[in-house]
């Protein structure tokens, strides 16, 4: 059994060999209910105690970046949807923003407001899915249905705007393809009203529950140094106590016009990461409210040529997706296809910190810690 596991290791990676006969290797995934897709964790266990952990990825690899080099700039937009399929709007945004920076195009103000509204609603939807599935990981099944109920409402809003419920492909280089429908403003207000009433409900089921608190507090601690050292971003970084949010620290679009807080933890455990996301939902709702109140009338599309040929050059542009810093790096050689197209995915980088968090945890914690990173395999494997 040991020999088998050892031969399965990729070259250059070696487990510390154990002295005792009680240790065993367990493959958690790719077929496992709690690995959120097709992640495979090779765990070295001593009883229930995790001695070592190696995450294996690549089961969902689909040559995203290579495909990008063979499509023109507009054709790439629907592909970006499939990266982080729980927050498609952000992938669109990040990519579109990179091309706009390359071309020197500035989207009209109304389009920027639309992007913020859709983006922040998407953040709420993404965090809702995370909260529900995290409940499943911990063994609390009911929160899952509650969260999905509210997420459905957001998806209804998105459907009324873009006609799609999951992969919207709604952002365009230079603006937005169509305006909000008349009903959207009322529906969005109604949703926010309803959503604020539901947050205390989540707290009663999850946050205030003593069993839940015992399960997540002091588990999977990621120190400040480690969080920076592994280049973590998003709620994982903020959970470790570093108030780093691109919406505040490198405000893109029109984020400097809104009033919102950046929640952060102090211990870097699963609880802190949970609370960061839980509070971020409130902040996002605040931003959407302000944006809905301020949104000006006007154009939604800048003047952009039919065939997009950015001048030769390179650009790295980043946004704060629900999972962290989502960046697109594009090298243009002046042709309709990018010369190089690369994605910096937050879930991939955050996942690399998993072994550091898992040292000394139990098997049950592995599930909680993995859940607290909020991975989406579509983005990790690309």
């Amino acid at each position: 059994m040991d020999a088998q596991a050892a031969t399965a290791l990729p070259q250059g990676i070696e487990f510390e060999r154990g002295e005792t006969a009680e240790e065993m290797y367990v493959n958690m995934g790719p077929q496992h209910p709690s690995t959120h897709g097709v992640l495979r964790l090779l765990l070295k266990l001593d009883g229930e105690l995790i001695k070592d952990c190696i995450p294996y990825i690549g089961y969902l690899h689909r040559c995203h970046e290579k495909i990008g080099e063979n499509r023109n700039y507009i054709q790439i937009i629907p592909y970006t949807d499939r990266l982080d399929y729980l927050a498609s709007m952000y992938n669109n945004w990040s990519y579109v923003k990179a091309v706009e920076a390359l071309m020197g195009v500035k989207p009209p103000e109304r389009a920027e407001y639309m992007r913020v509204i859709l983006g922040e609603l998407q953040r709420i939807a993404s965090h809702l899915i995370w909260m529900g599935t995290f409940g499943l990981d911990i063994g609390n099944f009911t929160i899952f249905m509650y969260c999905f109920r509210e997420r459905e409402m957001i998806l209804d809003l998105f459907e009324s705007v873009s006609g799609q419920r999951l992969n919207y492909a709604f952002f365009r280089i230079g603006g937005m393809p169509m305006d909000f429908p008349e009903t959207f403003y009322n529906d969005a207000d109604g949703f926010l009203e309803w959503f604020k009433g539901r947050l205390p409900e989540y707290d009663r089921v999850m946050t205030d529950n003593i069993i839940f608190q015992r399960r997540v507090q002091g588990v999977g601690i990621l120190s400040e140094e480690d969080a920076v050292g592994y280049a973590c971003s998003g709620p994982v970084l903020r959970g470790s106590g570093i108030r780093w949010d691109l919406r505040k620290n490198d405000p893109y679009g029109i984020y400097d016009r809104f009033e919102f807080d950046v929640p952060a933890g102090d211990r870097g455990d699963v609880w802190d990461r949970y609370m960061v996301r839980r509070l971020e939902m409130e902040e996002s709702a605040r931003i959407v409210e302000q944006a809905l109140a301020q949104i000006p009338p006007g154009e939604i599309m800048a003047k952009v040529p039919k065939t997009i040929k950015p001048p030769a050059g390179q650009v790295y542009s980043r946004v704060e997706s629900p999972r962290g810093e989502l960046g697109h790096f594009i090298i243009s050689d002046g042709t309709p296809n990018p010369y190089r197209y690369r994605v910096r995915s937050p879930a991939y980088v955050n996942l690399s910190a998993l072994p550091a968090m898992l040292k000394g945890c139990l098997v049950a914690d592995a599930v909680a810690v993995l859940g607290s990173i909020d991975i989406v395999l579509g983005e990790i494997d690309r």
Binding site: M24, V26, H32, P33, S34, L45, G47, E48, G135, L136, D137, I138, G139, N140, F141, T142, F144, M145, Y146, R149, V205, M206, N209, I211, F212, R214, R215, L362, V363, A364, D365, A366, V367
Partner: protein
């Protein structure tokens, strides 16, 4: 107060198993030889109990699906059978029966086949002492409580057999967790029950029920042991949840961690037996709780003109017993769909460092109270 109760336990044991004995006598009267009549009578009772377990478990599975659905703002099964999907469990049972019987190549085949039988048989064996109503029991053992405690802890043997023989790492982990859990929870469970035994002075189920029979002010069940032994009841109920592997203590199965724990490799009818045994166990622990703490089958008896008084009492006893038991089962389901799962070390902590000391304190106070009562009221 009720001093007589302590002494009447041995008398009760004499008239044990009335209904079953009547049945055997009836069969013997029809001309069957004595031993054969005995066997036939026992077989008939066994068939009744297995039938009850099957029907009740299927009902409970459907019921749990409905309860969980309504807690989770869903509807649950709505199609099979028409009215609120009442036939869903039957359809599921048929499906499980028709499934291919898969045994993993690396499994220890004999143990693998035996494990679900052991688990189900132990669940079945505990039904022997459950007093469904006056006279409605298989055997009125004078060591009833002891019998229940010893038989119910055998379940874990079956679970370890299943986990070990599957030759799967997840099932081994599940089995080991189950063993650890059983040890941690048997002890507080037994100690919590001791309080009741001390008050009643008997291990006999009928004696325990009879002790709780009188009423305050004509209607209030003030002699239910749950009032005096509230701490014992809470400890018992918590430990019983762990005994049944129900959330928040479903650590041996823990589908998000161990996939399905000890029954990962089981499918088809073998899996169905584990599933049935789980629900059968739920009923058993609730039934024991009802008997020990909630007055058993006692409740207001309304006379029915067209039934003989004896039969009416039996039916009403059955009615009240099942009502109370299913209420406790409802509470178990409610907890399952509200709470998160504990971690293994937290479970041990709760069992050894919280429940056990509380149970012992309860025992000590019960003993003190009984002594003081003797001193003040004399014997």
């Amino acid at each position: 107060m009720r001093r007589g109760a302590t002494r009447h336990s041995l008398l009760v044991a004499g008239k044990s198993g009335r209904t079953v004995d009547e049945l055997i006598q009836l069969l013997a009267g029809m001309g069957l030889p004595g031993l054969l009549a005995q066997a036939a009578g026992m077989l008939a009772v066994c068939a009744i109990i297995i039938g009850y377990i099957a029907v009740a478990s299927m009902f409970m599975i459907w019921w749990e699906r409905k309860i969980s659905a309504h807690i989770q703002v869903r509807l649950g099964p709505m199609r099979v059978g028409g009215w609120h999907g009442w036939a869903q469990s039957i359809a599921d049972g048929v499906k499980l029966l028709l499934k291919e019987d898969i045994v993993p190549t690396a499994a220890d085949k004999l143990v693998f086949a035996l494990a679900p039988i052991v688990v189900f048989a132990t669940a079945l064996a505990t039904y022997v002492i459950i007093p469904f109503g006056p006279g409605l029991w298989t055997k009125n053992l004078n060591i009833g409580v002891l019998y229940y405690i010893s038989i119910s802890s055998l379940t874990v043997v079956g679970i370890i057999m299943a986990g070990w023989s599957s030759n799967n790492k997840y099932s081994v982990l599940g089995a080991m967790r189950s063993a650890a859990q059983a040890i941690s929870y048997e002890v507080p469970l037994v100690v919590s029950v001791l309080g009741v035994i001390m008050v009643v002075g008997s291990l006999n189920m009928e004696a325990i029920v009879e002790y709780q029979s009188s009423r305050m002010w004509g209607f209030f069940p003030g002699h239910w042991l749950v009032w005096g032994q509230l701490v014992g009841f809470l400890v018992y109920f918590t430990a019983a949840l762990a005994e049944c592997n129900r959330l928040p203590f479903d650590i041996p199965e823990a589908e998000s961690e161990l996939v399905a724990g000890f029954h990962v490799e089981y499918s088809g009818i073998r899996f169905a037996m584990f599933f049935l045994a789980e629900y059968a166990n739920m009923f058993v622990v609730s039934a024991i709780a009802v008997t020990m703490f909630l007055g058993g089958w006692k409740g207001p008896v309304l006379t029915l003109g067209f039934l003989s008084p004896g039969l009416a009492a039996k039916l009403w006893g059955l009615f009240w017993f099942l009502t109370k038991a299913y209420f406790l089962i409802f509470v178990m389901m409610w907890l399952r769909w509200t709470l998160a799962r504990l971690r293994v070390d937290q479970l041990m902590h709760l069992g050894w460092k919280v429940l056990l000391p509380i149970a012992f304190l309860n025992l000590g106070f019960t003993g003190l109270f009984l002594i003081l009562k003797d001193v003040w009221w004399g014997s």
